[in-house]
Amino acid sequence: MSEPSRRNFLKSAAALGAAIPAGVSAQSKAPAHADHGAHAAPKGAPAQPRPYMFLSQAEVAFLDAAVSHLIPKDELGPGAKEAGVTYFIDQQLFGGYGSMARKYTQGPWPEGTPQQGYQSPLTPAAVYRAGIRDTNAHCQKTYGKSFDALARAQQEEVLKGLDGGKIELEQVRSQFFFNMMLNNTIEGFFADPVYGGNRDKAGWKLVGFPGVAAVYTSFIEKHNVPYKAQPVSIADITGKIAQVDEHGHPIHVMLHDHKAGA
């Protein structure tokens, strides 16, 4: 890899700041971080309502509340809710994942042992539908309110009850539902933003992950030297926002160089 020139850094930095991958960041109202100023939404961009394809409004409210506990917003930055994880889950449930595409779905369906894995007759889409309904029923019975209307401490108590299996749900095992939600939340927080979560690359920025594959030949033996680059997503490349080399690898904008340039 030839080291990108300073001129390329500046050009890339400007481009990354100016353009936003369609359908991903345009809805974001989250302010840019000082370190990642390249990701501010363009001024005057209309805030489009997110087109939920599977979840009802009540289910969106449930998941917005639930995922904000699983990965909360805090001093480290946005949480799962702010990163669009509910929308990510909606898109997943509407798509192949939700319907168990490429998975074995023939019965019979005895429950099996934990070692035998997923044995539910319900698809993930159906698990969410049943799990949210049953959890809300539990909340109504216990607190007189649906999950999203509870105080945060009560919500936390309910989630811990699902996680530990203390709350029994009617149609689906509580831990099965909880683990699915937790796994999908982590996926939505860290998956490429093209899937609708990880908005503004919040998950990647949290851990210092630079996104799609890049060329590290000249850096990998620089031991104990943190490599800090503006993360690049699939849409940054397909949308020609990020500069790429001849193999399609992004030419990274290093964060310190970006600051110096800006």
Partner: protein
């Protein structure tokens, strides 16, 4: 009714690592060869291009390059007292689907099994006596020695451009290589990959403890390399998306990069994709295979006659097609008789994860097989007297590229979610690495493969049923090996560490390794093996069964290098002996 096609000389069932090598070499001798592959065509230029090919959700979580279970899966149970249930989604292991097979998404590690591995039984009995293993253990010798396979290992390493450092060149121990490896006739074709920070720390600590570190041999090529077929495998760029992914650079050796460019140009070769073989048909005396039956993507059924049938699909399907076709006697664990499905084994991986406050590993960088290893605790490289187990595994610290959906290690005791979890993930994503151990797994009377009585595939055929659990030997071994790794970890001096030996019942849920072995094992005795030392069926002389299914038990390494050597072992016998005089080679 199947349409009967014009006969050809040879058919490979499956077009992956073994099927492409055999097809190339046989087509070059002038034979008409047809490759039949259940999945689709895939090539580097069109299918593995940036940026879409490096998407963690699609490839690691949703297993885009791997077997479509909606059509066919296996059923699984831990023991014969349980009801086997379908593996509804992939987890523990990840068979491939499509041209190139699992050698598209493999991690690249290309080992030679130890000389001891091929003689596990006789050497164990000689050194420790019969009481070293449980009565239930069905370990056995392979019927082939390391020395016989050596030229074949060499050939495969030169085909795939393996990067590494010899430790034993013609009997001379070479500093910097693995001193425990069998004598090799040549240095690796390419020098080792670069050394990451975690590997360096591992090396310093391991050497302080008196161990000899060496580079893990890998088919992620350290430089552009042209092989004997004129195919150029490119130089690895350490992008960090290797195992579970296809390589956009063409730098990880695979059928696509090493063999297919030449094979597809040979007019003697014809590839048929999206065609699923459902049966190998025998003559009336059941001594000779006459054809294979397959269904194409338009639902048409064909019968392809051939003189030579090469069963070159994944381990599990090789065993299943034998069972579905009624070739060889199915194994019966109650009597211990029969052979097809016998000696299914796996791997016993474990790890120690180290967490630091002040060190950064840029965890997202790396390559498959990039790392430094020690082999002091593999095979019979150490005295097992009084330990109550046999076998071992290599241990390594590598930089293999880690994406945050799957890789976000946190110290033990951290909650699974919430603010504290988030803090730990944020802190340690780039400040942690693991020492990993590729523990061996022995074979046992109660671990086997057969046909499921209930569940069926998309063609109405019974699924393969896996009955498997690890035994005390594996648990003790894993505990012992993992403690050794923990000693090295302590010498490195992390702030925290998680020590994770493999314990408890085997589960198909979390990923462990795609190192399934056995079911069609090789050997010297037809009463305990499916194929002879040339991988020729004992029952049907024009059928060769090739792959890790031939391993009578699994060693403490990744299997691919040994699978490559076995492929050439079969090939040489076919070319130099079988084609001249078809019949039983043993």
């Amino acid at each position: 009714m199947a349409t009967k096609l014009k006969p050809v000389d040879a058919v490979t069932i499956g077009v992956g690592l073994t099927g492409t090598i055999l097809a190339k070499e046989l087509a070059d001798t002038g034979l008409k060869v047809v490759g039949i592959e259940r999945g689709r065509w895939r090539d580097t230029e069109h299918d593995f291009a940036m940026p879409g090919v490096h998407d963690e959700l699609k490839y690691v979580r949703h297993k885009e390059l791997m077997q479509d279970l909606s059509k066919e899966t296996i059923t699984f149970r831990n023991n014969a007292n349980e009801l086997a249930l379908p593996m509804r989604q992939l987890g523990s292991f990840l068979p491939g689907e499509g041209v190139g097979g699992a050698a598209v998404h493999w991690g690249g590690l290309t080992w030679r099994f130890l000389p001891w591995d091929f003689e596990t039984k006789s050497r164990t009995l000689a050194r420790y006596g019969a009481k070293q293993v449980s009565e239930e253990c069905t370990m056995q010798d392979w019927g082939v020695s390391y020395d016989e396979l050596e030229p074949h290992f060499n050939r495969f390493e030169y085909l795939y451009g393996v990067s590494g450092k010899a430790g034993n060149l013609n009997g001379k121990i070479i500093p910097g290589g693995n001193p425990f490896e069998g004598a090799r006739s040549a240095e690796y074709p390419n020098p080792p990959l670069k050394v990451g920070y975690s590997s360096l720390l591992f090396k310093q600590a391991a050497e302080k403890l008196g161990y000899k570190t060496f580079p893990v041999p890998t088919s992620a090529n350290s430089r552009a390399y042209k092989n004997e077929y004129g195919a150029t495998i490119q130089s690895c760029v350490y992008c960090g998306y290797c195992q579970f992914f296809a390589c956009e650079m063409g730098a990880k050796a695979s059928p696509q990069t090493a063999v297919l460019p030449a094979l597809m140009k040979n007019p003697n070769y014809e590839l048929r994709t999206l065609c699923n073989v459902t049966r190998i048909n025998l003559d009336s005396e059941k001594k000779r295979a006459v054809s294979v039956t397959y269904v194409d993507s338009r639902g048409r059924e064909f019968e392809q006659p051939a003189d030579l049938i090469l069963l070159t699909s994944y381990v599990l399907n090789n065993a299943r097609l034998m069972l579905l076709s009624g070739i060889g006697k199915p194994y019966d664990p109650t009597t211990g008789t029969g052979v097809v499905g016998r000696n299914y084994a796996y791997q016993t991986p474990s790890s120690v994860t180290l967490f630091f406050e002040d060190k950064n590993f840029n965890s997202f960088m790396g390559a498959g097989g990039m790392g430094l290893a020690i082999d002091e605790f593999n095979g019979d490289n150490f005295d097992h007297s009084g330990l109550g187990f046999i076998g071992g595994g290599f241990m390594q610290a590598g930089s293999n590229g880690a994406r945050p959906i799957e890789f976000h290690p946190v110290p033990q005791g951290t909650p699974r979610w919430g603010s504290e979890w988030k803090k730990a993930v944020s802190k340690y994503y780039n400040r942690a690495f693991s020492i990993t151990i590729q523990g061996a797994c022995q074979s046992y009377r109660g671990n086997w493969l057969d046909l499921d009585p209930t569940y069926r595939d998309a063609y109405g055929l019974p699924l393969l049923r896996m009955t498997f659990d690890r035994r005390e030997n594996e648990t003790k071994m894993s505990e012992w090996l993992t403690n050794k790794a923990a000693e090295i970890a302590k010498a490195i001096g992390p702030a925290r560490m998680n020590v994770n030996p493999r314990r408890g019942k085997y589960t198909i849920v979390p990923y462990q390794s795609t190192h399934n072995t056995g079911g069609t094992v090789m050997g010297a005795d037809p009463n305990t093996s499916v194929v002879n030392k040339y991988l020729q069926s004992w029952d049907v002389h024009n059928l060769f069964v090739v792959g890790a299914g031939n391993f009578p038990q699994n060693g403490g390494y990744n299997p691919t290098g040994t699978v490559g050597a076995l492929t050439y072992q079969a090939l040489e016998a076919i070319k130099t002996r079988y084609l001249k005089k078809p019949g039983a080679l043993v």
